[in-house]
């Protein structure tokens, strides 16, 4: 199973910003001061080995969209702004333009999770089929997607899309077979509700659990989350806030914290915990600092258990 991250931000897409780019250039120039690079290979080696992640790369700014490879057709979670780049990549692939099938699992319909769809070129291509699945009421889901295509929000009406678009109602807490995967959804605490999804195939397991506030107030509810995460190879988790923010000024905003993710994943015996839905106000340096702090917290509380901790970035690829 391969997971590609097309968008990893929460709430709204962001750009790097001129000040941040300038700061990166300054750091790179300082690191390169006095060095000579005979060719591109040496330059690439310097970038990869001598510049830290926030300087050489960064986390990107598109909102939530991931792709799960391993089935016959395309399978994705959510339609944030990252979907635009996925759609462009599909359209640029060489070969005959045969009709294609897309499957979308939708966590919920907040704007940052649907705003990429009007910019998804395959939706405009006759012959393509787009299946949209959710444990949310699909009537509401369809209305939300159609509304963002309606005037005055967007110039192309939903009825002008060329692809066949089919909405599929899923039942929570039950297994469904979609595109070669066993998939189960679970209700999460979020304004208007959201759903996490567990994907299983070939003894591998991914949990996509974004936009959820895990208060850990009642052990019965926390235990249900741990059971849903149990033994997963990868958990993609809403780690938007610090714990202090989550329990004070941003309480009941529907999101979790980086260290709550560590604690839940350790209890669930998860192999790899991936922080997701990054706060749009954080730049690359801040997000990287939070990643290092989260790893340190994991070291302190893990009691020797092995939990890999990463922070998702746009275009990241994880094989499990």
């Amino acid at each position: 199973m391969r997971i590609r991250f097309w968008g990893t931000r929460g709430s709204i897409p962001v750009t790097a910003g001129a000040e941040n780019i300038r700061a990166k250039i300054k750091r790179a120039l300082r690191a390169a001061d006095g060095k000579r690079f005979a060719n591109e290979t040496q330059l690439d080696k310097f970038i990869d080995n001598k510049l830290d992640f926030p300087t050489r790369h960064g986390f990107g700014g598109d909102s939530a969209c991931i792709q799960i490879e391993g089935g016959p057709d395309y399978l994705l979670c959510d339609m944030g702004s990252g979907l635009r780049r996925f759609g462009r990549q599909v359209m640029q692939q060489p070969g005959p333009h045969l009709p294609r099938m897309y499957h979308f699992l939708m966590s919920h319909v907040h704007w940052d999770h649907i705003q990429g769809f009007p910019f998804f070129p395959p939706a405009y291509v006759p012959g393509n089929t787009i299946h949209i699945y959710s444990c949310l009421d699909t009537g509401m889901l369809a209305a939300a997607l159609q509304q963002q295509h309606a005037s005055p929000f967007f110039p192309v009406d939903w009825n002008e899309l060329g692809a066949d678009i089919i909405f599929n109602q899923l039942q929570p807490d039950r297994w469904h077979d979609i595109n070669g995967f066993r998939i189960k959804g679970m209700l999460q605490s979020h304004h208007g509700d959201s759903y996490s999804y567990r994907f299983e195939k070939d003894d591998k397991c991914l949990v996509y659990a974004t936009d959820a506030e895990h208060k850990q107030a009642r052990e019965r509810e926390t235990g249900a989350v741990i059971a849903f995460f149990e033994d997963a190879d990868l958990v993609i988790f809403d780690a938007m806030y610090s714990l202090a923010e989550m329990v004070t000024v941003r309480e009941d905003w529907g999101h979790s914290s980086n260290i709550v993710g560590v604690d839940l994943c350790l209890r669930a015996n998860v192999k790899h915990y991936c922080m997701f839905h990054h706060d749009p106000s954080y730049n690359d340096e801040t997000l990287y600092k939070i990643l290092l702090e989260t790893r340190r917290y994991g070291e302190i509380v893990s009691d020797g258990r092995n939990l890999k901790i990463s922070a998702a970035y746009d275009d990241m690829v994880v094989d499990i």
């Binding site: 850990q216 926390t222 714990l243 004070t248 914290s257 702090e293 509380v301």
Partner: protein
């Protein structure tokens, strides 16, 4: 987790030892609750929790601490923590709890700031 409490003038000084995680947080909550009940005639104006012998606490423990802080805040009372071990101090920094809970280097400094009368009582004990 071990819990004990003693009153010094208008301050309740609570000592915690061990760890506060998902396994022990219920014990922490049960032990702490009587000191947060507004109708308890024995509650004091201020609470200081001595973390000198606390090995670490997880998000579950921090959450309980925030509930205590909010409860005290609603009652017009104060709460602070003191004598954090380096690892607990790290957890406070990582969770940003150092920005929302009063943290003092020692119990003595906490008492000095919050209640000189309690400090005199503490030093005379």
């Amino acid at each position: 987790m071990e819990f004990s409490a003693k009153q010094f003038d208008d301050v309740t000084l609570i000592h915690i030892a061990g760890r506060i995680d998902h396994k022990t947080v219920k014990d922490f909550e049960t032990a702490l609750m009587p000191f947060l009940e507004a109708d308890n005639p024995a509650i004091t104006k201020k609470i200081i929790i001595n973390f000198e012998k606390l090995d670490f606490l997880t998000s579950a423990g921090l959450r309980m601490l925030m509930i205590a802080a909010k409860t005290c805040g609603r009652q017009g009372r104060g709460i602070a923590v003191a004598s954090l071990q380096p690892i607990v101090e790290e957890i406070f920094t990582i969770s940003r709890f150092d920005l929302v809970i009063n943290v003092f280097p020692s119990v003595r400094e906490a008492l000095q700031k919050l209640s000189p009368a309690a400090l005199a009582d503490y030093e005379g004990a």
